[in-house]
Subunit: 203 residues, 2 copies
């Protein structure tokens, strides 16, 4: 019989407790949700867990925080463990099933600090969220960080809408770019910092 | 402080041990690799773990099986837990890191019973595999199963090639369609069978 691994675990970094210590359970203002995402994204690359990316799932109307996620590709050794995959998986664990749009649940939104890469775009479509809130889209992310985001269809937002997912753009966009620029500066200044996109990248 | 889940686990179904009991550690013939994938895909939907999808990661030249994956969206309650995500994550656990194309490793290929959905297409790009072997592509999967595979760029295979991933098409294609047709027949005949793509689907 083949001797293979049977499971893997995806988990948040231990430092997440520090960052969440002063965060209220409910963030009614959408900019406050994005502000938290930016803070986690900035802490994440400094801690060495992965790229400068974070996400959260919130109940859209109330602003109750259901989960948070950061990119833990480096620390967990799983290339799929982008911030969105982590946040969505943890939200599904919290709500008890694979469909965040399931009967009896509040409408959920995914808040991310840039337009998702092609993998996480797909993950968003299949998650059951009713909203995707991003700090920005456009070439700046790839230009600044050198991460490859993969090929996405031009009408990606319309394709979301067709599946019942409302897209909200440009929430604290400049603040997102600041996180990316600080990350890039650190990479340029530090030869030991692992940039993990040698073969096309992960974002 | 927010009370949130900190981790989730992705695991193979318990029945996988039965299916692998007679499988050699090395499958030098590519069709044999796909035959195993088809068998796992067929067992998977019958067991109720998720859709009729399976995958494996093998060392391309030797055919050593590094991991297998099936779609465990239903049984694990994680919408991202498609066969490819499971197989790639387990392969990364087995090889010790996020990059299956890393230094010192043999070239790996991902073998799947249809062209990946948009999420798993991205996951493939970021995984470090050097090859993607699929039983087929085309509208038949969505037509037969009613799963939504999401929007993919037209030049998806060229985009793989540009990132050092060789695409091999049409390995035991008819056998893939047989699995999908058997699944669909069972869905049509059984009102209790959960088809989990009410809001756009997962594949």
């Amino acid at each position: 019989m083949i001797d293979i691994a049977k499971d893997f675990r995806v988990s948040l970094p231990a430092w997440i407790d520090d960052e969440l210590a002063d965060v209220p359970a409910v963030l009614p203002d959408r900019e406050d949700r994005m502000r938290l995402v930016h803070r986690l994204a900035d802490r994440n690359w400094r801690a060495g867990d992965g790229g400068p990316f974070a996400a959260l799932v919130a109940e859209r109307e109330s602003g109750r925080i259901v989960s948070v996620g950061v990119n833990v590709v480096l620390s967990r050794g799983i290339s799929a463990a982008h911030a969105e995959i982590v946040a969505l998986g943890l939200a599904q664990r919290a709500t008890g099933g694979w469909d965040l749009g399931g009967e009896g649940l509040a409408a959920h939104e995914l808040v991310v600090n840039w337009r998702p890469c092609v993998q996480c775009y797909g993950a968003t479509l299949w998650s059951g969220v009713r909203g995707l809130v991003v700090a920005g889209q456009g070439p700046e992310l790839e230009e600044i960080t050198t991460f490859d985001e993969g090929p996405l269809v031009a009408d990606w937002a319309e394709q979301c809408a067709a599946r019942g997912i409302e897209v909200v753009l440009d929430v604290l966009r400049d603040e997102a770019l600041t996180v990316f620029r600080n990350y890039r500066e650190a990479v340029d200044e530090n030869d030991d910092m692992e940039v993990y996109n040698a073969r096309g990248g992960t974002g």
